[in-house]
Symmetry: C2
Subunit: 336 residues, 2 copies
């Protein structure tokens, strides 16, 4: 039963017959491939548009192995849709996808059950790869081309990486703090499952070493972006352990908020400057211009990932560009 819900579509064969050529020729003519007279090409094209022919993507995909769809993977995508960062990243992917005529498919991220069917995509973008995300790992081990949107944490298979230039941005922020004088800097960042967290630590420590001061740090769970209570707990410990702390870099504006509240409520009299390595998407720092932050370009990052993936897909079986992350610049709001 040929499925009556999908009534007869115009097939390439129909176009070919109508145009008086063979299917092979018609195929070549429409795809601009091969060695075809301008005249026959025109003829075929005319008939095709007249009949309203659109290629059956399944059939051509079966033959070529391409689907013109890219997949997007993120843990719990449904909830992530509420987060501005993911949403903007997604918008960037969508925009580029549309420009290149690719559909974008949110991959089913069910970690329990294996997919009943392989994803019908040509390649995948993994947003914020975490080393304990099993489905991300699975995708990266699969034969599909994968582009990671953010630095890879250790333990995950290699793949192409497109990331924000955190190094430059954070250093700019730190330089501004340095001018104000820092003698005991603290860092609160995502733990080792996150490539971003690792990078922040590296940059922070290099800067501290340069400055000749002794840093200390605390960990938060990646994705606990707006988990003020979580931040508060970690920050309290850190501040109590280091009574001489005078500056703290935190991975989220909500961390800054938590820290400042803590100081006000529980440690009156102590003076600590704060800065955020993450963007102030919700505007919670809009009234504290003395706090600097990095403005992560989520949309540009998503767009860059998509560009990179599509470029790679269209490049054919070639090995692709040399490894090493593609960097997307971030802007910084300097502290007043």
């Amino acid at each position: 039963m040929p499925d009556s819900r999908q009534p007869r579509r115009v097939r390439l064969k129909d176009v070919a017959e109508q145009a008086g050529v063979s299917v092979g020729t018609a195929s070549d003519a429409l795809s601009g491939r091969g060695r075809i007279t301008e005249e026959t090409r025109r003829k075929v094209a005319d008939v095709a548009s007249e009949l309203g022919y659109v290629a059956n993507a399944l059939a051509s995909g079966l033959r070529t192995g391409r689907t013109r769809t890219i997949g997007l993977h993120r843990q719990s995508p449904t909830e992530q849709l509420d987060k501005p960062y993911f949403r903007q990243f997604f918008a960037g992917v969508l925009e580029v996808g549309q420009r290149h005529d690719y559909d974008v498919s949110i991959l089913s991220a069910n970690t329990q059950v294996p997919r009943s069917t392989a994803p019908r995509v040509d390649g995948v973008i993994v947003v914020d790869p975490l080393s304990d995300d099993l489905r991300a790992r699975e995708l990266m081990l699969s034969p599909l081309p994968v582009v990671a949107g953010e630095y890879l944490p250790p333990g995950l298979p290699e793949c192409e990486v497109v990331a924000v230039d955190h190094r430059r941005a954070v250093n700019e922020l730190l330089a501004a703090e340095e001018e104000r004088g820092v003698s005991r800097p603290l860092l609160v960042a995502p733990d080792e499952h996150s490539g971003w967290g690792n990078l922040l630590r590296e940059v922070f420590e290099a800067w501290a070493a340069d400055l000749g001061v002794e840093p200390a740090h605390g960990y938060v769970r990646f994705g606990g972006w707006d988990d003020k209570d979580g931040f508060r707990q970690v920050i309290r410990q850190l501040l109590e352990a280091h009574g001489d702390a005078d500056f703290m870099l935190v991975s989220s504006p909500y961390g800054v908020l938590a820290g400042r509240e803590l100081l006000l409520e529980a440690m009156p009299g102590r003076e600590v400057r704060f800065a955020s390595a993450g963007p102030d998407v919700d505007g919670v720092l809009s009234e504290t211009p003395e706090v600097g932050y990095v403005d992560l370009p989520a949309r540009a990052l998503g767009a860059a990932c998509a560009e990179r993936l599509i470029e790679r897909l269209e490049a054919g079986p070639a090995p692709g560009r040399a490894p090493g992350a593609t960097l997307v610049p971030a802007s910084v709001r300097l502290p007043r």
Copy 2:
């Protein structure tokens, strides 16, 4: 060239050989179809999971005409991702899709160029169908099953409809206003391109007729949800034309905001009650408990659309449920 980027996947043939059966039998065994010994079924299933077999969706899709992907259409989806309503709707679709093992594909909504290839989806959800959306019309005329997420405006082809029960919700809101006394009610709602706008007018007028009062209304562009200036202009005209107005129902909280500001700034002394037929997603009415509004269940609506579409898809070529919209209840915040 069989595309070296997609190295050899395990094929059904491999499973069949390994299990010592034919491909046909293996296919039946895995799909739970046909007349197969429990023993062979087990055998095949074991081999399949051992080899890590996942069906090639393209191939099976080519044969069956199904892809286990549903499409989502909305004008300018990229910008819509920033709107809580669309986002929540999307989340609902995604959630149900995942539960039924369907991927969700955002359809390329480029209105200029026709798709180079037919969408690889089994069916489509059209969010907020508008009569002047050409791609929506195209989809609804295509052989694909379509579910509309909200009432259809006149002029669009028929299709299944899943909508919020605005009638009940708005009546509840109006009843509450009625108790406070209304003698001259005004309505500001989307124009005739929107099925929702049409319904609002119908309900509003029926209520006014019942009450024995004379209503009046103004139009806004659908989608101008947070366009305060647009609202302000329309509301000003309406209020100036109807000096005796004492109540106004507006389609968005931002409209309420605009109206109240206008009153305060330009028409001091006039007393008009406001209510919103749309949800207060951004919380702009949180400090005016005297303003009631309808709380549209975007996520539930998205989920219901997906359920309905998938149900229809799995039901086979049958005509499906009788026409008439499926309704999703909305809750109401009554005015204080």
